[in-house]
Subunit: 224 residues, 2 copies
DNA sequence: CTACATTTGTGTAATTATTGACAGTTGTTT
DNA sequence: AAACAACTGTCAATAATTACACAAATGTAG
């Protein structure tokens, strides 16, 4: 009788993890990957807390949001935990990406691609600059004109769009992407987007990040 | 008599602003820049809150951490507030940067450079790849061999280092940077750094960010 | 097989962050 | 020039996040 309520509650909770927790998951995943590479089979929240410089309590609490992955008296099995977090993060499935804006950053991301190892496949770039059209980057990724964007999305099962455009075009472009069914935008444009609630946006505002660094550098200087 | 205590307290507080607040400053700065461009002279916390989609209370409280920039019954003078936030973020001074690691990302950042407008001047890149040595990028920025790193830092008043290296070399490199007096590291390497407390580090873990996006996309999908 | 050290999951406390409320000040209108 | 509306700075309340503490479970050593 109580179990039913508990169950319902859990499910509801699972869809409502705070971003504070979510932000930490990739870092856990990274450290667990390292442990795997080192051949470590099991690890306790305490050991991990020392490595990662966080509290063991936070680690246990974070993992518990998704159900218990550990065992009392034993700890966590590294490979199992690694795989589970991968699933939570959606890394067990392939994602098809397009990059909109083939400037320095767009091309760098296309060439960079450690992401492919994790199942994020870049299918194409798009740009309005006609000089770039037809250019082929590493791995045969091609730059297309903007006009082909809509068709490409529909025909290639694209779910994530990377926005590496100047501020001006970004907003307009984001609505076009959304209209064509994109459900996730990785936004490098120097502006905030305004999209429906069912579209995920992850902002990478490099300038903001650099300013934060500048503040923190200054602060430490001021202290002396 | 009381003023003295109040004063002391303020100063102490000023050096201890939470990162939650600091993270919001660049965004305020961005919106204030837009307002300036639009020719808006004054703005209330309420108006700004609508634009930025945050609470007016948070805006007032945030600004108050650094002393009051507004006036009761009037609001905030856009230009004044913009300039004050610039000062807080250390944008009133020039910063000399070097980029360590002249791969795709390093070169893209060097070429990209809207940062120069804000006083972040890239002075040079460094890489171990001999094929790149001597290559000149936009604005005359040159790629040097790693061996010249230490001298260059000392002779060119560098305060910020941008780390765009693969994971393996990043840790070793960061200690070298710190040893030569770097006080701020913008870390794009796929690993956490271990530096003394007086060195500011700002991490830009692109993979982490992408995984977060993947989680949030998945979550929205799960809901239906 | 028993005693003990280890470790998770979880309820609770403490801390931090955000929001609400309002006194006091300023600008504006009549 | 008085009355009123708009607005900040700040105190208090609420909400969210993090840390603590311990019962229950497991592995290990003697």
């Amino acid at each position: 009788m109580f179990d039913i309520f508990e169950g319902d509650f859990k499910v509801q909770e699972e869809t409502n993890i705070s971003q504070a927790v979510v932000s930490r998951l990739p870092r856990y995943f990274r450290y667990l990957g390292d442990l795997k590479d080192e051949g470590v089979e099991r690890i306790s929240s305490h050991e991990l807390s020392v490595r990662m410089n966080v509290t063991a309590s936070q680690i246990r609490q974070d993992f518990n949001h998704f159900g218990g992955f550990g065992q009392q008296g034993y700890g966590y099995n590294v490979t199992y935990l690694y795989d589970e977090i991968a699933k939570i993060l959606g890394l067990d499935k392939k994602h098809n990406l397009i990059i909109v804006g083939a400037g320095n950053l767009g091309q760098a991301l296309a060439n960079y691609m450690n992401f492919e190892k994790r199942g994020f496949i870049i299918k194409a770039l798009f740009d309005r600059n006609t000089e770039l059209h037809g250019k082929v980057l590493r791995g045969g990724i091609k730059i297309y004109p903007m006009e082909e964007l809509e068709n490409f999305i529909r025909e290639n099962d694209i779910d994530i769009a990377v926005l590496t455009l100047p501020k001006a075009g970004a907003l307009e472009c984001s609505s076009k992407l959304v209209d064509n069914g994109i459900k996730a935008i990785w936004n490098f444009a120097h502006t905030d987007l305004d999209v429906p609630g069912d579209v995920a946006v992850e902002n990478v505002h490099l300038s903001d990040s650099l300013m934060k660094l500048s503040y923190n550098e200054k602060k430490r200087f001021d202290k002396e």
